[in-house]
């Protein structure tokens, strides 16, 4: 994997990555704030190009770092490279029928999955660090924090099961 970056006057900054399989991915941060991403298969002469806005590029970046992301659920993964590559994911979920009407205490989320619910958003009100007695309602948006695997367990065993 060879990464090369260069500043092109008048255009912006270019990052070019050649993968082990000899494919090329290049990202240009243009001066107008947009980002052009080129991908070129090793035996191909014509790259394909996508032009992204800054927001779109960040979304793409989140996906590429390996965090889960679905249409109405968003997540961010934070990696602390100094702390032996500690990775924490922060994920939002919408509470469905199954969890509605239950409290944090009887769902036993942290004990069963290791995931912590750090905030709940209901309508235009936000509750940070909800107490164990907090009752979920269908439609609440919650912010959960944990490792990617823990969040997957949470989705499988609490959200759906």
């Amino acid at each position: 994997m060879a990464l090369r970056s260069i500043n092109l006057p008048g255009i912006g900054t270019k990052y070019e990555l050649e993968t082990e399989k000899k494919d090329t991915v290049a990202v240009f941060f243009l001066k107008n704030g947009n980002i052009q991403m080129y991908t070129l298969q090793h035996d191909c002469r014509t790259p394909s190009v996508a032009e992204l806005s800054a927001v779109e590029a960040r979304r793409l970046g989140t996906i590429l770092t390996g965090a889960i992301m679905e249409a109405d659920k968003e997540s961010v993964e934070i990696a602390f490279s100094a702390l032996s590559d500690l990775r924490i994911s922060v994920h939002t979920y919408i509470i469905g029928k199954k969890m509605g009407g239950h409290s944090l205490e009887d769902l036993q989320i942290r004990a069963k999955t290791g995931v912590t619910i750090i905030a709940v958003s209901r309508g235009d009100k936000n509750v940070i660090n909800p107490p164990p007695s907090f009752l979920f309602q269908e439609g609440d948006a919650v912010v959960a924090i944990g490792e990617t695997d823990q969040l997957k367990t949470f989705e499988r065993e609490i959200m759906v099961a």
Binding site: L8, I11, E16, Y38, L40, V49, E51
Partner: protein, 385 residues
């Protein structure tokens, strides 16, 4: 005053149309000027206000160019810049001069035409690389360095071709003295300047605007080349905070430059002063062909391929803002008319050549299948809108 408003509105409409069609807008501003002014309907004439605004357009164009010039970066890429740049300079500079001289221009005019002939449009080259999505091509870096080289040649040209009658050494001493003072001020006042630029009131814009005008006024008062000083000033300020200065001077550049282009067209009189249509046609054709020659040689020398040569050619055909600047600074009526026509023709041809370079490569090189080149973009797949 009404003339300027009329011209600006025509340009606004043209800008809307050309951006939509992904065409360069500079040639159309000049055409609009030609149609509205001396050569056309005579609806708009140059007056003191328009002269002042066009002057501002020129100053901010040059200042902006100065901000883009990073001496350290140029230094560390000098081999890339020189190898292609010298080929470009020799072929286009010499042929441009010979062609102009052969067509009957005086020695001085032929030098001016040759300079305008040599320098491609950085703005159009960069826009076409981005809009046609060709940034990944290895030729695109070569093209960018080529534009930087041409800018440096222009700076040297502006420094030496003055209209002053003073001894060159005296001018040189004055230039060094002024640059020394600017460097000292920016060096010791760096922190203060940065703190002013960070404010969100009118101060940053006021500082940028008055600094550029101040340098220009100082230069013309003490008799040193104004355009050169404004570029050098931009380069020095670029070492402090290029992004802030770009941000604060951009609105001036954008508006006044349009005024500059349209009024350049307004003041050009194509039908008097003995501009022969034949000379114009010859210059335009030669302008396209010499860039082909230099592009092909650069392509072969640097990338070992004629396909690269066609790509470099397609993106460097367009002459634009700097050619017009040279004409506005030094051009006689005949020279300005010739350069205006050359900019219009080459920039429109260049826009299409850059867009369809993939097809042109196939046509030109049909009988010479080169080795597979990568990455090489067929632009028709990526015509941005």
């Amino acid at each position: 005053m009404e003339g300027i408003v009329l011209a600006l509105f025509v340009c606004l409409i043209l800008a809307l149309i050309t951006k939509r069609l992904s065409l360069p807008s500079i040639p159309f501003y000049i055409i609009a000027g030609l149609l509205l002014g001396e050569s056309g309907l005579k609806l708009v004439g140059a007056d003191e206000v328009s002269l002042f605004l066009t002057h501002l357009g020129l100053l901010f164009l040059l200042f902006f160019m100065g901000l883009e010039i990073k001496p350290d970066r140029i230094w560390s890429n000098q081999s890339a810049i020189l190898s292609s740049g010298l080929i470009d300079l020799h072929i286009n500079g010499i042929i441009g001069f010979v062609a102009a001289y052969a067509l009957g221009f005086s020695l001085f005019d032929a030098v001016i035409v040759a300079a305008a002939f040599f320098i491609s449009s950085t703005a159009m080259a960069v826009t076409s690389l981005i809009e046609n999505r060709k940034l990944l091509m290895r030729e695109s870096e070569t093209i960018v360095w080529l534009m930087i080289f041409e800018d440096i040649v222009l700076i040297a040209f502006l420094a030496f071709i003055g209209t002053s009658t003073e001894h060159p050494l005296l001018i040189l001493v004055k230039i060094i003295a002024v640059l020394g003072i600017i460097l000292a001020i920016t060096h010791y006042g760096k922190k203060y300047i940065i703190s002013v630029l960070k404010r969100d009131d009118e101060l940053p814009v006021l500082l940028t605007f008055s600094a550029v005008l101040g340098i220009a006024a100082l230069a013309s008062t003490i008799g040193i080349p104004e355009s050169f000083m404004v570029i050098a000033f931009g380069t020095i300020l670029g070492t402090i905070d290029p992004i802030a200065f770009e941000l604060h001077s951009r609105p001036f550049k954008d508006v006044f430059l349009v005024v500059f282009f349209v009024f350049f067209g307004v003041t050009v009189d194509l039908f008097s002063g003995g501009i022969s249509p034949l000379a114009i046609i010859v210059i335009c054709l030669v302008a396209i062909l010499t860039k082909f020659a230099s592009g092909m040689i650069i392509g072969k020398r640097i990338h070992g391929s004629s396909i690269s040569g066609v790509e470099i050619w397609a993106n460097t055909i367009s002459r634009g803002e700097f050619s017009i600047a040279i004409a506005a600074l030094y051009g006689s009526a005949v020279v300005s008319g010739t350069i205006a026509s050359m900019v219009i023709v080459t920039s429109i041809v260049g826009a299409f050549a850059a867009k369809y370079s993939g097809r042109i490569q196939k046509i030109i090189l049909r009988n010479k299948p080169g080795p597979p080149v990568q990455p090489d973009i067929h632009s028709e797949t990526g015509s941005g809108g």
